[in-house]
Symmetry: C2
Subunit: 314 residues, 2 copies
Amino acid sequence: MIDKLIKEIIEKKNPTVVGLDTRLEYIPEDLIKKHGSKYASFEGAAQAILEFNKKIIDTVYEYVPGIKVQIAYYEMYGIPGIEVFTETCAYAKKKDLIVIGDIKRNDIGSTAKAYASAYLGETDLIYARKKAFDLDFVTVNPYLGIDGIQPFIDECRQYDKGIFILVKTSNPSSSDFQDLYVGEEKLYEIVADKVSLWGEELIGDQGYSSIGAVVGATHPREAELLRKNMPHTYFLVPGYGAQGGNADDICGCFDEKGLGSIINASRSIICAYKQERWRKQFNPNQFAEAALAEVLAMRDDINGTLNRHGKRYW
Amino acid sequence: MIDKLIKEIIEKKNPTVVGLDTRLEYIPEDLIKKHGSKYASFEGAAQAILEFNKKIIDTVYEYVPGIKVQIAYYEMYGIPGIEVFTETCAYAKKKDLIVIGDIKRNDIGSTAKAYASAYLGETDLIYARKKAFDLDFVTVNPYLGIDGIQPFIDECRQYDKGIFILVKTSNPSSSDFQDLYVGEEKLYEIVADKVSLWGEELIGDQGYSSIGAVVGATHPREAELLRKNMPHTYFLVPGYGAQGGNADDICGCFDEKGLGSIINASRSIICAYKQERWRKQFNPNQFAEAALAEVLAMRDDINGTLNRHGKRYW
């Protein structure tokens, strides 16, 4: 699956994904009102979110290799929310977008197997096997060690999927545990070493493994070092935009060919219509056009910075 | 919420919960066939699981303070599975059981807030606030530090709920990262110190906090030390039964009054009818009666061991 992601990145000349972390508060009033008869219900909220997501996907799909969907923002709207998570992912796949499910699942082996079956593989129904969610990539938390990771790796091999394992997260308190020194190295560096090792068996044609790492855009120096120490590990980099990371911050996440990272931005794109930068040009009902403008600006910002540093892939 | 859990434990003289990690393979053939017309579909599987769960709940509810429901085993059956997760939890609550959702969620602050709203609090629908899943306790992964925990603590305070944060998990590879030495202490001990600290603001009438810890039954020495070092932290202890932990192993998880831990067993109870020990007495259609027999045997095993060690609460 990593080869497919890289192919799409190169074809679209864009190493970024759109984070569809859609909350009701992000949706323009007219669209909310349209679903107003069912409003103040999970069903109404979910339908407004689905229409919002579809419009964004319709507008941006030719310009980005994929989307990242944060499942928390769907679970918070109950079953209707999770239905819309599924529909959003299916809709994006129909447009040939790669779908990264940001689910951060983790558990002991037998339970991790259930999660891996649910999101990457198939569920055994005794007389049949069926796909429950069928994403392309998911994020996974490493705290339980290899037992909790191996079932995901197995599904990646069997179903041509990928995972990104949390290494150094973008939030301020990532330092609480991830930065603790274990001997000479910090914990996240030890996790990084393991992620590299676990990924060795699934390295694709481009030299990168389908077992990737999450490395926050808010830690530029750490990311640059990790890039050098993890030559076969693709990075999913959250934190660009609303969380404060900029193109210079993430430049170190890329290799010399401009590959090695896929950058995610969520709020800065889906709420672009609210930004000072775009609100004069687009009214709230043009939220999708504003999102595209931000997508292109982000792409050009990152590619420009990569070019200045002599990192390009086309 | 911790006071309510302790009250139920004392009233029912039972410091254990039933883990409803129900997979289709665990369900007797006749019950599967009953839902056979829709079989080999997620809907059919989910209905068989719901009926199985309800029968177990009906049979055991007077003897246990609560249930633990592992959401992975419901997500693997897609949306119908998650519907049955919700129905199982609601059904248990109607029987006055405390419901622990084993969801191991974790993310950066804003996203952790979404999870906390979804499972413990309420979701903001702008003109209304509604509960999406409404569990009593959930499990949470600490790898992202306090940013990812605080939103759960806030919901615990506001809605009288509780959480159990992963400290030392029951699986073999918990040693991969949790046992790494950070100076003189292992990582899980550092996490334990933080969990104690984070829980200080929510200590109830019995001296225990609604911010608890997950400590596996498979690490008896570590658990005994943690019990001493975390006097205000209640433990959720998985790993009894099928994972290999026995009553002697978990005795150290309890304080001198026989409180301080709630023990979970899943497969050993819900698949009791398959056990050598019970299969002569119960046929597969008596799975709920076999489960009750195992629940009572487990209760007596643990209470007997606690009594022998002079730890009793009645």
